[in-house]
């Protein structure tokens, strides 16, 4: 779920942060902590690591507030910090050690009680949980770069063009990667035919 933030209000909050307003920082933190944490947890596959990275991201945000150029969207800048953090971590790990994303989170199904969506009836809950489980498994089966671009887009709400900027890749590359990932995901979760 991408964060919904009025750009004008956000600009005002960032200005207040620059001037040392701790309350403004807390507002920004609570606005973005969920989507950022979700992105970090699903790309690293490790909740505790994601919590550490979350703190890193917000502290780096504060350190670099004066460098934030307001020509781009604030969330693009914030998610870039997060993506760079993940990239630094991934570079230090070998490909074989890299976790398979969501499927390695707390439970075998990759979700916890906190994550599981609420359904109206037991039967609906069963169906929903099954769908979510297949989705998690489907995501976990993607290549790391394919999974990252889908997760980043989903949680940040940014455009593919902005995501290409964050990942430092050409737009065509990001689109090709996303296209491939979405078709794979759709096939693996077994969505009904047209």
């Amino acid at each position: 779920m991408p964060p919904q933030a009025d750009p004008e209000r956000l600009r005002h909050l960032v200005d207040r942060c620059r001037q040392g307003d701790g309350q403004a920082f807390e507002t920004v933190f609570h606005m973005f902590r969920g989507p950022l944490y979700s992105y970090l947890a699903r790309t690293t596959g490790d909740r505790h690591l994601a919590e550490d990275f979350l703190q890193d991201v917000f502290l780096r945000m504060v350190e670099n507030l004066d460098r934030y150029e307001e020509s781009g969207r604030f969330q693009a800048w914030l998610f870039r910090i997060a993506a760079n953090r993940v990239r630094d971590w991934a570079r230090r790990r070998s490909h074989t050690e890299r976790v398979g994303g969501a499927a390695n989170l707390d439970s075998p199904a990759g979700t916890t009680a906190v994550d599981r969506p609420v359904a109206q009836s037991p039967e609906a809950a069963l169906v929903l949980n099954e769908q979510v489980s297949r989705l998690e498994v489907g995501l976990a089966s993607l290549e790391a770069d394919e999974r990252e671009v889908l997760i980043l887009r989903h949680y940040s709400g940014l455009s593919f063009r902005e995501i290409a900027g964050i990942m430092g890749a050409p737009l065509g590359t990001v689109l090709a990667r996303s296209h491939r990932a979405l078709l794979k995901l759709r096939e693996r979760i077994g969505e009904p035919a047209d």
Partner: protein, 184 residues
Amino acid sequence: MSACDKEQLLLLASDELAPRQAAQVERHVAECPACAAELERLRQGLAALDRLTPMEPSGQAVERTAADGRRAVERRRTLRPSFVHRYRYALAAAAVVAVAVGWTLIGRLAAPTDAQLDQLWREPVSDIIDTDSIVEDLAEGQAANPWTQAADVVIAQLSESDLDDELLELEESLELLEQWSSGS
């Protein structure tokens, strides 16, 4: 879009095309069953992702990060304002201009004026061709004053340029003095 374009289909599925472009792609999709099927699969993939629910960090992590971040932000109050950083490019440009202007001024102040150059040139010349002094020395029969030799050199050099009548007369006078001093 006259040919099947996967990137355009994806951008259409994610609502990232401008209205005119979107209409163009939709027209193609209406005529191309393969693209229509692919567009639908892409939309289903994107819709499936909507089932991903947001995850939350632990309460402890939230408190810790909020507190650390707040402290870091409040420390900024004691730092100098970001005036220098915000206007860094303008300040750098102003510094370059100031150095250039200063350099020019220093150059102009340090350089001698034409009048000064003239003075510098004439003073040694007038010292060298102090005829009274030369005549006195010669009259007393002393050894040739080095200044007379220097005067010869200077006058010889001066004679190559436009000289005024006084310098020419002086040269003639010195020659006469030399002859007199040698007893010829």
